[in-house]
Amino acid sequence: MRMDERTIMQKIANGDEAALQALLRRYGPLIRYILHPILSDDRDREECYADISVKLWQTAAGFDAQKGTLKAWLTAISRNTALNRARGLRPETELTADVPHGAGSAEDTLLRQERSRLLARAVGSLTTGEQTLFYRKYYYCQPTAQIAAELGVTERAVEGRLYRLRQKLRQQLGGDFCE
């Protein structure tokens, strides 16, 4: 499967439009799934989907199968593109798969790197269930109702779990994280 992904991305990088169509046919539902909770408007989602297609076309050559799966790469691009659209960020501050944050002062960059490191360590220490909840809430930005339906629990239960998750993370991250 990894070989197929590499081949298909190679074809896209070489300008094979059919390969891009095949990729979108396969991963279209995933991209739309990611866009849905972040962008509430149908037209925004369609425009964002088109933006992502263009990005894939333009950046296919940059895909490195050694660094991760195609699905993970697509997920990161889709998520960040959608968030950028939602925030109305300027092009130069866009989140990308490789550079997730907007450029700022050197001090800001260092601060964000430290936060990311702390967060990665804290998330790594969570249980599988808590990690799932974290990713759904903070990575996919899913609303409580969607999380509840997909996990097969009530919204109230999700709210309770999120509350405990926040407490746990804040305890592990310390006060510096929010400053």
């Binding site: 739309r32 991760g68 993970a72 997920t75 998330v123 974290f134 997909e150 009530t154 919204e155 929010c178």
Partner: protein, 505 residues
């Protein structure tokens, strides 16, 4: 901005730097439930109650899986409805299995039909999901094959084909299909992101444990309260017995306590008795004994005596210690045979096995008497005269009650022995005692006709079985005795009337 909002914003911002997570869509979890549900519901392992537990868990997993997918298309909505119906049916079947009712095959057929419908709905639902996700040629072949395979399996079951030669290939094919279905489900994982999970009011854990908990409670309640035969207990209001016949029987030595329990019709049937033979057997509490020491060795002690030890005395003799189990009488069985000549001129022996409880039994589930009548072991000497009777009696609140047995049947079964199979005759009575009652009695009466002018011996066995604890699935006292779980859940008392003609004065 509140602390929580600020935390959420920062966490969302910094999460971008984390490696993207594994699959989170609703498809995978729901399909995992469905596939496990199908596997558990279809395969049965006949030990440790797994043939009850696994299909039940399978049923509820199917409900949980289809619950998430139910809003996706009409076929999946049908699958959800059918899975709920199957879970309800399963619950009803599990509870009924704890009760003394004949379920028949209706539940099994209904369950198979629901499963078949569910598999077809799953197949169409998966095709629908594939189409909704924009597949060029929407299809779900493995799901279709599974539906067809299950239909073939049902047909084989209905025509009664079974055996290892068939089961092994069928099992192999089933596993291959199930594996294909797992592969299909995985291949649809990306497509499955197009699904919108339906909201729920109860969490998966609440549904799973709630269903299993309710069912377990219902089954336990049914076992504790329902494992009894329906009886028609009424205050005793017998017609008076014929005083002349009664006096004749008593004069011949008919036990008064047994005679008091017979109906007027039964006493009338004993008119013209020429002889009354009586034997009594007593059962004592197996846990209560007295200690007896004696210096006389007896090779032939009564069966209530159990040898414990021998101690050498100073004078060289021995002192023997026994435990004697005759402290508390539990029940008394009185066997009576009334000899008379019928209107047809044939010699009849009316045999009565009468049980009397000296104590109150601790458990009140089911009772059974299986008689091996005189012609059971000696068909060349005796035949059935066709008259069978009997009932159960007791007292409650100082008032006598009586009821017909729940079942009183005469039949035969095939017994496989060293010299081949043979037909063995039985007379069977089944009943349950009245709650809160004492002074409990039950008797069974039958008519044996002698095939020879002078019979040599009369041998009539009474096997009385008392259920001591509930059984799942329901089996009555006699079924427990005939089952292979030796001495589990029942007490058996085997006692007999055995008379040689030369013993009769």
């Amino acid at each position: 901005m509140s602390d929580d909002l600020r935390f959420d914003r920062l966490a969302q911002q910094e999460a971008a730097a984390l490696p993207p997570p594994a699959d989170v869509g609703p498809w995978r979890g729901a399909m995992r439930c469905v596939l496990w549900g199908i596997a558990l519901k279809t395969l049965t392992l006949q030990f440790l109650y797994l043939h009850y537990i696994l299909p039940t868990v399978g049923c509820i997993l199917l409900v949980l899986g289809f619950r998430t997918l139910r809003r996706e298309n009409r076929a999946l909505r049908w699958a959800y409805g059918l899975s709920v119906a199957a879970a309800i049916l399963r619950g009803a079947a599990m509870v009924l299995a704890a009760l003394p009712v004949e379920e028949g095959l209706a539940f099994a057929y209904a369950d198979m039909a629901l499963m078949q419908g569910m598999l077809i709905a799953l197949w169409r639902g998966m095709v629908g999901v594939s189409r909704a996700a924009g597949a060029e040629k929407p299809s779900a072949p493995a799901a279709g094959v599974l539906a067809v395979f299950y239909a073939v399996l049902m047909a084989l079951a209905l025509i009664g084909l079974e055996g290892w030669l068939l089961v092994l290939p069928v099992l192999a094919v089933y596993l291959v299909i199930l594996r294909s279905l797992v592969k299909l489900s995985r291949s649809l994982a990306d497509t499955g992101y197009a699904i919108h999970a339906a909201p729920v009011r109860l969490s998966m854990a609440a549904v799973l444990w709630g269903y299993l908990g309710v069912m377990l409670s219902a089954v336990i309640l049914a076992m504790l309260l329902g494992q009894r035969y329906p009886m028609d207990w009424q205050p005793r209001a017998d017609a008076p017995q014929d005083e002349t016949i009664r006096a004749e029987l008593l004069a011949l030595g008919f036990p008064r306590n047994v005679l008091d329990d017979l109906t007027a019709e039964e006493v009338a049937g004993l008119a013209g008795a020429s002889e009354v033979l009586t034997q009594t057997d007593t059962r004592y509490d197996k846990d209560k004994y007295r200690v007896v020491t004696t210096d006389v060795w007896d090779e032939d002690t009564p069966n209530t005596w159990q040898y414990q030890s021998a101690e050498k005395q100073e004078d060289g003799t021995y002192c023997y210690t026994y435990h004697v189990y005759d402290v508390e009488k539990v029940s008394t069985m009185t066997h009576v045979a009334v000899e008379l000549t019928g209107a047809d001129g044939e010699k009849h022996d009316i045999v009565i096995h009468h049980l009397y409880y000296d104590t109150r039994p601790g458990s009140r589930y089911t009772e059974g008497m299986e008689l091996w009548p005189a012609w059971h072991g000696a068909p060349e000497l005796w035949r059935s005269g066709g008259w069978y009777s009997g009932r159960a009696l007791c007292d409650r609140d100082e008032r006598p009650y009586a009821s017909a047995f729940s079942a009183l049947t005469a039949g035969s079964y095939e017994s496989a022995g060293f010299f081949g199979a043979s037909q063995r005759s039985t007379v069977t009575a089944k009943w349950s005692w009245l709650h809160g009652s004492g002074h409990m009695r039950a008797y069974v009466l039958y008519d044996a006709v002698s095939l020879v002018p002078e019979w040599e011996y009369l041998d009539s066995w009474c096997n009385y079985a008392h259920q001591t604890k509930p059984a799942y699935p329901f089996r009555d006292a006699l079924a427990l005795w005939h089952g292979w779980a030796a001495n589990d859940g029942f007490d058996l008392w085997q006692t007999a009337l055995q008379v040689w003609s030369d013993e009769i004065a």
